[in-house]
């Protein structure tokens, strides 16, 4: 249980570890996109953690990084094909960032720092925790940007008009991320 919550709060990949910033900033133009990106990463992370935990004892040390990358790339392609088949709209709006999950440092980071030293089940929990942390962060970020920039929640407009455009553009990603990070650190400081 501790493994699960560590990824969400103490080791939150976005606000504490500050990993995987590229998809975080680029895909969170709406809550739905952020959540989609988070869930795709979660799926890859859980599967790669389990696979690497299972294979790690068999892989010689010197070729472990190439081996991990091949495994991760395969999983990403699997997720990509399934998204293309069953959620084509989401696949289109995330575009290049789906294949780029391969080089998301959260995934290789967890493989190196956790999965190759622990069992399959613990790695599953760790992947789930960190993946959920990433998903929640991206959804919140996307939600705030969408509310301010587009006056809508999960694609449903709550008011007419145009919103504050800058929040759905690149600078808005940095502004919201910075504010959320400050808030997150402030809150976790008190505990």
């Amino acid at each position: 249980m501790g493994l699960l919550t560590a990824g969400i709060v103490k080791n939150n990949p976005t606000f504490v570890l500050v990993l995987g910033m590229c998809p975080t900033l680029a895909t969170t133009t709406s809550a739905l996109n952020g959540m989609g990106m988070g869930l795709a990463t979660l799926a890859v992370l859980v599967l790669s953690n389990m696979l690497i935990a299972a294979f790690a004892p068999l892989i010689p040390d010197k070729v472990r990084i190439p081996s991990y990358i091949v495994l991760i790339a395969t999983l990403v392609t699997v997720v990509q094909l399934f998204m293309q088949a069953y959620t084509p709209a989401l696949y289109e709006s995330l575009g290049i960032f789906i294949p780029l999950i391969v080089v998301n440092c959260i995934i290789l980071g967890r493989a190196e720092a956790f999965a190759n030293k622990h069992g399959v089940f613990e790695s599953l929990l760790d992947g789930l925790g960190v993946g959920l942390g990433f998903t929640i962060s991206l959804t919140v970020l996307g939600l705030i940007r969408e509310i301010l920039g587009n006056l809508s929640v999960f694609g449903v407009k709550f008011s007419g008009g145009d919103g504050i455009l800058v929040f759905v553009l690149a600078p808005g990603a940095f502004l919201v991320l910075g504010c959320l990070m400050a808030l997150f650190n402030k809150l976790s400081e008190k505990k």
Binding site: T29, P60, K62, T74, T77
Partner: protein
Amino acid sequence: MARQSTFKNMVATMVVICLFTSAVLGAVYVITLKPIQNAQIAKTNAAIAQVTPAFDNNPVADSLRLNYTYDGKTRSTVAYIAKKGGKIVGYAIEASTMKGFGGRINLMVGFKPDGEIYNSSVISHSETPGLGARITDSQSHFVVQFNGKIPDDKDFKVAVRKDGGDVDAITASTISSRAFCDVIRDAYGAFKSINVNSNNSGKEAQIDSNE
């Protein structure tokens, strides 16, 4: 702990991993091949249905490859033919431009047999959200103003007013608006080539006389 990093071990490990992953990828590819194709066909059909009058045939099956010249370049695209009761009610033509503010804009433009624009729909684009991306709002004045017009220069010059045309551009998005006009002109160029590309006369003969 991890096996020794001897040459033999390393090569064997990599080979096994690559074989394993290839097998997984092959299997997943086969499983998802059909759904991916279906999803793409559904998307094309949805776009066609949006830009042509109601039809009862399968426009993808009745499509026509068009070769035409636009802007000094030879191009090629596909016209999907919408028929109702065997009669042609419209053509959906896919066209694109690289002149958008964010690069490529893909558009499906629907024409009635006499060359009138029925409707148009953006398939993909990378224009600025809130500004140029308003070309995707099918209810907006900008998109609606093309409908029911024949985009030859006599009745309706497809260019923004700044360039001496008849199109009201989107405020603060002149480049996106220009690019949109460019695609419409491109699609009309393709439409005009339908009679050249097909030996099916009749409807097409009327277009000739219109010009």
